[in-house]
Each structure stands twice: as structure tokens, then as C-alpha cells.
């Protein structure tokens, strides 16, 4: 068999498996409520599995919510940081600092992409140093640099490299800090948080899949006579698997809704409480975490996660049943 044929065969097998699973799922919706389930609900250790799935979904939702919060906060920080750059003018021997500041302001203001420029005066510089040097300080006797705060036009930042070069040539004591290092560290921190979150989600999902697999095997052992009868009357493995999948989909959705619902309530309470938890003031917490409220997008992610848990539960049971039937032969 050529490689192309093999790829085609593999793809057609995958398509057929997928369409089988989809047929099974649509069959669940089509079943009339008056029909007695072929696999009795009471034969499946439902409450224990619902509890496990609920706990797993709660943990997964907490993780997802935390990741959404961190990513949102990091994006906000980055946006704030990238909207503003700073020019620092250091005093140099033989140069007038005030003249250098004025010249630096002119150079920066002339650059395209700069929305506003404001040089901090001596009093502001003194206030910045107050926590370390105390009040009533005379800056005349100290070589204190001066800061120029530059607001950048959003989406159209200036050419920082050209600006740095021009400042270095015309104002030797001036340096431009575009906060890129800080921004990079923020992004790295957010990426790490997402990676850790995804790893935890993976572990939680793996634990859910294993729990469902064990429960499915138990249910199959309990329903062995039913499975035998189904085979004797001509049911295919996919049909038998569908009977189990039906139950596990609803169990998964039930457990997922309980766990996901509890997480949603927790995030709502956190959002209402703001940052007053953990001993932080509301403003401090908002500055750190960008607000504890998830937002509509975050809650939608949690809802999708509940549906995903139901789907994973159903498909796991279907796969376990089919694998077991195949092994039994």
C-alpha cells in the first residue's frame, strides 16, 4: 500500500470514527423520553461519578478562571506600559540640566507618534525621592536626574531607535526607556501562568477521563447480561457503546454543571468582594489582578468547559466500551 493510500485509509477511518461518535451523540437527542433506557441508569455508579466530575470541573474552572484573570491583567499592564515611555536626563559636568531638559522635550515632541510630552519639574522630582531622602530636600546640591514622561499615540508608536540616537547626539545625558524589558518580563510571567494553568487542566482532565473509564468498566461488568442480549439480537458494538455513552454524557453534564456552577458563584463573589480578600485594599488588588471579576468572556469559557467535560465523559465511555468489546471479541 502506498503512503498516499495509507494516509487516505487512516483519514477515512478517523472520519468514520468521528461520524460514529457524532451519530451516537445525535441519537441521544433523538431518543424519545418514554423509552426505557436499555442500560438502566441505576446500574451505573452515578452519584459517585457525578461527585468526582463536579470536583474535577470545579478545580478546572478555578484554574481556567485564574488563567483568564492573569492573562487579562497582564494584557492591561502591557497596554499601560507600552502607552508611556520615559526620558531620563542626567546632570553632566559643564552642561545646564534645565537647558538639556528643554532640548530633550523639543526633540521628543517633534517625533511622529508622540501624543504628549511633560517634563517633571524639580518639585515633582523631590516628591519622588521623598520616601528615601526625606522632605525639605534641596535638589540644587544633589545631581538628581530629571524625568520626561512621554505619552505615545496608541497603535502608532514613534521610531524609538531613531529617537534614542538623536537624543544621544544632541543631549548627551539623556536616555530613553521604552519599558520593553519590563514588558517582556510581564509577557513571560503571563505565558508561564498560562502554561501552568494548561498543565493543571491537562491533569484534571486526565483524572476525569480515568475516573470515567473505571466507572464505565464497572457499568459494563454490571450490565454484562444486557450487552450479551444486545449482541445476540444483532446490535453492533457502536450501538452498545451508544447506550453507555448516553448515560455518561448526562452524568458528565450534571457533574460539570455542579462544579462549573460552584466556580461561577465563587468568581461572582470574588468580583463583588473586589480585592478586600487577602488583606488587600480594592484599588491595590485591582492594580495587581486587574480586578477579580471574570467578565462575560471568562464566564463563557467556563460554560464551554462544562460542555467539554460532558463531551469528554461521553466520548471516554464510548471509547472504553468499544475497546472492551473489541478485546472480548
Amino acid at each position: 500500500m502506498s503512503t498516499t493510500d495509507r494516509v487516505r485509509t487512516d483519514r477515512s477511518r478517523t472520519d468514520s470514527r468521528l461520524s460514529g461518535a457524532l451519530r451516537g451523540l445525535t441519537g441521544l437527542v433523538r431518543r424519545k423520553p418514554r423509552e426505557t433506557p436499555i442500560v438502566p441508569r441505576s446500574s451505573i455508579a452515578g452519584s459517585a461519578l457525578i461527585a468526582v466530575v463536579a470536583i474535577m470541573t470545579f478545580l478546572a474552572s478555578l484554574t481556567t478562571g485564574a488563567v483568564v484573570l492573569v492573562v487579562g491583567a497582564a494584557a492591561e499592564w502591557q497596554s499601560d506600559v507600552s502607552r508611556e515611555v520615559t526620558v531620563q536626563v542626567r546632570p553632566m559636568a559643564g552642561r545646564d540640566l534645565d537647558v538639556d531638559v528643554v532640548r530633550a522635550v523639543e526633540i521628543v515632541r517633534a517625533a511622529p507618534g508622540v501624543a504628549s510630552v511633560r517634563a517633571q519639574d524639580k518639585a515633582e522630582s523631590a516628591r519622588l525621592l521623598e520616601p528615601w531622602l526625606g522632605s525639605g530636600l534641596s535638589l540644587e546640591s544633589l545631581p538628581v536626574p530629571r524625568l520626561i514622561v512621554v505619552q505615545v499615540t496608541p497603535g502608532r508608536p514613534p521610531d524609538f531607535a531613531a529617537l534614542k540616537t538623536r537624543l544621544a547626539v544632541e543631549v548627551p545625558g539623556a536616555t530613553l526607556d521604552d519599558h520593553r524589558g519590563f514588558s517582556r518580563r510581564l509577557r513571560a510571567m503571563a505565558d508561564t501562568a498560562v502554561a501552568v494553568g494548561l498543565a493543571i487542566l491537562g491533569l484534571v482532565m486526565a483524572a476525569t477521563v480515568l475516573s470515567v473509564a473505571f466507572a464505565t468498566r464497572g457499568a459494563m461488568a454490571t450490565n454484562r447480561p444486557t450487552v450479551e442480549v444486545l449482541h445476540f439480537i444483532g446490535a453492533k458494538d457502536a450501538y452498545v457503546a451508544g447506550q453507555f455513552m448516553r448515560h455518561f454524557l448526562f452524568l458528565g453534564l450534571q457533574g460539570g454543571s455542579i462544579g462549573g456552577g460552584a466556580a461561577v458563584v465563587l468568581f461572582l463573589l470574588l468580583g463583588l468582594a473586589g480585592g478586600r480578600l487577602f488583606g488587600l485594599g480594592g484599588a491595590d488588588a485591582a492594580a495587581l489582578f486587574g480586578g477579580a471579576a471574570l467578565g462575560i468572556g471568562g464566564y463563557l469559557v467556563l460554560l464551554v468547559q462544562v460542555a467539554l467535560v460532558g463531551l469528554v465523559t461521553a466520548l471516554t465511555s464510548r471509547r472504553v466500551v468499544k475497546a472492551t468489546l473489541k478485546a472480548v471479541g
Binding site: 426505557t36 445476540f232 439480537i233 453492533k236 458494538d237
Partner: protein
């Protein structure tokens, strides 16, 4: 319809329980499968309804060599065979009506399309008043009739029955035999596994006798 050629069967590494079986089951035929206990009647029935594969020989069912069929194809083939178990194998959580209609449900048919059919068959086997009863409250005879109704509801071409009169009194056994004869007249090939000589003496039919793993056919 069914052809066995030099079929042998052993379980694991044990001795052959069935040896060199060669026989045919023709369409519209009626036969008893008999022999002493432990002769291999149930094993032969399991070969016939494809729950076992032979360790040697050739089995052809409805013109298909069963050795070449995959699981799904075997399932489709099994829909043309009705089977009545000695222990009935009804599903206890489903009503008599639901047990009998199960093969049609598995075929994916809508309930509206078969409700009348199932009710008519249940009346015919004398279970018209017991449709909603669950198997645990049915008598042995009622269970047997429900199992037979389930086996024939999808109009199989071949009906296999394992000791169908083993748990019932002689009168009911006679009624059940009449039921099988009627089914045969309507076109179904019937194989009844039994060691009840009295039952076999009531109807002149072909006999397949198993003895020490070999089959002897008396037409």
C-alpha cells in the same frame, strides 16, 4: 442456508468437544437437535448463532463464510437469526412489550412503525394482558413465550431454541411446539435443541443427534 463442513471446536487447549461436524440446514426446514447432556448441543447452537468461531472446518451461513466476516458483519448476519435461550435472558428492567420489541429498536425502527406488530405477536403467544409486566413477575411459561416472541419479532430466517420446553409443564410444552411449527410453516427454519424425547415424538421432523462430539443425522 447453513452448511457445516468438517467443523471442530475445542475450548482453549482442551479436547475437541465437537468433531468433524458436516451437515446442512435447508430453508423452511424443521429439525430437533438432541443428544445426552454434555454432548455439545449448546456449543453447536453457539456456533450456529455466531457467538463462537470453530477451531477448524468451514461454516457457511446465508452464503457467507463466517470466518471471513468482521464483528459488524456478524452482527448484521445475526439479525437474520432468532435465538431462544434456556434461561430466557429477558432484561428485568424492561416490560414484556419492550423486551419483545428490542430487536426492532436495535434495528433503528421508530416505535410507531412496530407497536401494532409487537402487540399482535404478544396476543398470539398469549401475553396480550402481560405487556406492561416486568420479567421478574412473569411465570416460567410466560417468560419462555416472551423470549420466543423476542426471537421471532424481526421475522428471522433461522430460529434456534435451546431447551425451550425445559422449564414448562407438558401442556405448555405442547403449545410451544405448536408455536414453533406455525413459525416453520410461515417460512422460518427451526432448530430446537432438546433432550425431551416426548416432545420430539409429538412431531415427525429431522433429528440431528450429537454423541461424543459427533453428529448423526436422521432425516
Amino acid at each position: 442456508m447453513v452448511r457445516f463442513e468438517n467443523v471442530g471446536l475445542r475450548y482453549g487447549l482442551g479436547p475437541e468437544v465437537l468433531r468433524d461436524l458436516s451437515f446442512r440446514i435447508e430453508p423452511h426446514s424443521f429439525q430437533f437437535l438432541t443428544g445426552p447432556s454434555g454432548a455439545g448441543k449448546t456449543s453447536l447452537l453457539r456456533l450456529l448463532f455466531l457467538s463462537l468461531r470453530p477451531t477448524r472446518g468451514l461454516i457457511t451461513l446465508f452464503d457467507h463464510d463466517v470466518a471471513t466476516l468482521d464483528k459488524d458483519a456478524l452482527a448484521v448476519l445475526r439479525r437474520r437469526i432468532g435465538i431462544v435461550f434456556q434461561d430466557f435472558r429477558l432484561l428485568d428492567h424492561m416490560s414484556t412489550y419492550e423486551n419483545v420489541s428490542l430487536p426492532l429498536r436495535v434495528l433503528g425502527r421508530e416505535e410507531e412503525s412496530y407497536r401494532h406488530e409487537v402487540e399482535e405477536l404478544l396476543h398470539w403467544v398469549g401475553l396480550g394482558e402481560r405487556m406492561t409486566a416486568l420479567p421478574p413477575v412473569l411465570s416460567g411459561g410466560e417468560k419462555q413465550r416472551a423470549a420466543i416472541a423476542r426471537a421471532v419479532i424481526a421475522r428471522p430466517q433461522l430460529l434456534l431454541a435451546d431447551e425451550p420446553t425445559g422449564n414448562v409443564d407438558p401442556n405448555l410444552a405442547k403449545r410451544l411446539l405448536r408455536l414453533f411449527i406455525e413459525l416453520n410453516k410461515s417460512g422460518t427454519s427451526v432448530v430446537i435443541a432438546t433432550h425431551d424425547i416426548g416432545l420430539m415424538d409429538q412431531y415427525d421432523a429431522r433429528r440431528l443427534v450429537l454423541h461424543e462430539g459427533r453428529i448423526h443425522v436422521y432425516d
